[in-house]
């Protein structure tokens, strides 16, 4: 199934809407386990964590279509890559914001240096900001697509290294579930939380896909109009 075919279908958008309502309403009335420090803030699990998943997925789409662009040279792939990264960046900011509010409650500060994941994601957000700066500094659209494609492939690989290798070498993380903090390990992610968490993941990922596909279609229409003039 091609990207265009998938994104014009209705069924998954309907599921997304239903699940988003479910997450936002049931997420606040579901009974959560009573953990020390976390307490009610555990409900952030339905918002903060799925947003990272959505961002990761969108960045993977960006990577996939960047590689596809370099091997095929078709502008269509570049448009999809760009718009996915744009919405991915939006989810990145949202993830940082929800995480920051949550950190103020539980860790007592908006930003904590000792936290590896925080700094890694801040770097990732910076990388994708640089990606858009790079795009905006080219006027020739073919060169723009090629150079930003190369940049985003490089960026994605380094980013993967950053969040997968560095924390392992340098040890501790303050996130729930790491280093003895109470959290949502497979042991204590109880069934109530799971009932909201998994739908929430699908809902936010669906929203991300939907938003980016709309931007892609707008861009396609614009280009068609340009070619008619």
């Amino acid at each position: 199934m091609t990207y265009e075919k998938f994104t014009t279908q209705i069924w998954w958008k309907a599921i997304t809407i239903v699940l988003l309502f479910y997450t936002c309403i049931y997420g606040f009335i579901v009974k959560v386990p009573d953990l020390p420090i976390l307490e009610q803030s555990i409900r952030n699990l339905f918002f903060h964590v799925p947003m990272w998943f959505a961002m990761m997925l969108l960045m993977m789409i960006n990577l996939f279509f960047s590689i596809k662009y370099l091997s095929s040279n078709s502008q269509r792939n570049d448009v999809i890559a760009e718009k996915s990264a744009l919405i991915g960046l939006l989810f990145g900011f949202l993830g940082l914001a929800t995480g920051s509010v949550w950190a103020k409650v539980t860790w007592g500060a908006w930003w904590v240096f000792a936290e590896v994941k925080l700094n890694a994601t801040a770097a990732a957000v910076l990388v994708y900001c640089a990606y858009f700066i790079l795009r905006s500094s080219f006027s020739d659209s073919e060169m723009k697509a090629k150079f930003s494609g190369v940049y985003s492939i490089f960026a994605f690989v380094m980013f993967m290294v950053f969040i997968n290798i560095i924390p392992r070498v340098s040890g501790s993380s303050l996130h729930p579930g790491n280093g003895g903090n109470p959290g949502f390990n497979s042991y204590d992610l109880d069934n109530n939380l799971r009932k909201v968490f998994y739908p929430a993941v699908i809902a936010w990922i669906g929203l991300g896909l939907w938003l980016s596909s709309l931007l892609v279609r707008i861009q396609f229409v614009k280009r068609k109009l340009d070619s008619i003039d």
Binding site: A123, A130, I133
Partner: protein, 220 residues
């Protein structure tokens, strides 16, 4: 295979020869590095703690690397593009640039290190380990910035290089700072080698990525 290796060798020699003939670039870089360290020496009034030493050392190195490596492809992309393209394959070209830049960056790192030692005294306990860190770190820096300098050469705008490079260099920088700390404290051998291994891994990843991606940037 041998023929390609030979061509890479000649490209590196050409690079070194041109650099040597036009000494003003090398000399200005040297002065840049010396000036930066001297300013730091004055700002700290000759006394410095180890943590600040590490931070300052790597900041100076990072900014010099940008200036050294940033103009790698200036000539190739603009004046000699068709000439070079007719002579060598892109992979040979990027290999020669990577080797040459790694050497150059290591050289300037050594200069900064010697100077910081002269000004602030000996700060690093295990200096042979630190030299290894310098060498591997230099390779990582040069791999990354060499690839991106193609982009800035096409744009004719070196200001973009730090914008593109700084966020991506962070994993490397964090590792290098850790390694610098390790070379100053007593840790067991395994711990040292694990971190060197991580550094090697990063160098390899950036090396392979540069080689794979460069032909796309080089083609018109």
């Amino acid at each position: 295979m041998l023929e390609q290796a030979n061509r890479v060798k000649y490209l590196i020699l050409k690079e070194a020869y041109l650099e040597w003939r036009n000494k003003s670039v090398l000399a200005s870089m040297l002065l840049y590095v010396i000036g930066a360290t001297f300013i730091v020496y004055y700002a700290f009034e000759g006394r410095i703690e180890f943590q600040s030493w590490t931070a300052i050392f790597w900041v100076i190195v990072l900014f010099s690397v940008i200036n050294i490596v940033g103009k790698t492809f200036e000539k190739e992309v603009n004046q000699q593009y068709y000439y070079i393209r007719g002579l060598v394959s892109p992979i040979e070209l990027i290999l020669s640039k990577l080797f040459y830049n790694a050497f150059l960056v290591f050289f300037f790192e050594l200069i900064v290190y010697v100077e910081m030692t002269i000004f602030f005294g000996i700060q690093i306990q295990d200096s042979s380990y630190f030299l290894l860190v310098l060498f591997l770190g230099g390779i990582g820096f040069s791999n990354l910035f060499t690839l991106f300098s193609t982009i800035t050469a096409r744009l004719n705008n070196i200001v973009v290089l730090p914008v593109l490079g700084f966020p991506i260099i962070l994993p490397l920088l964090i590792l290098v700072l850790r390694l610098t700390n390790i070379s100053n404290i007593e840790v067991d051998f395994d711990e040292k080698m694990i971190n060197i291994g991580a550094m090697l891994l990063l160098d390899t990843i950036t090396f392979i990525l540069s080689i794979i991606l460069f032909p796309y940037l080089w083609s018109e």
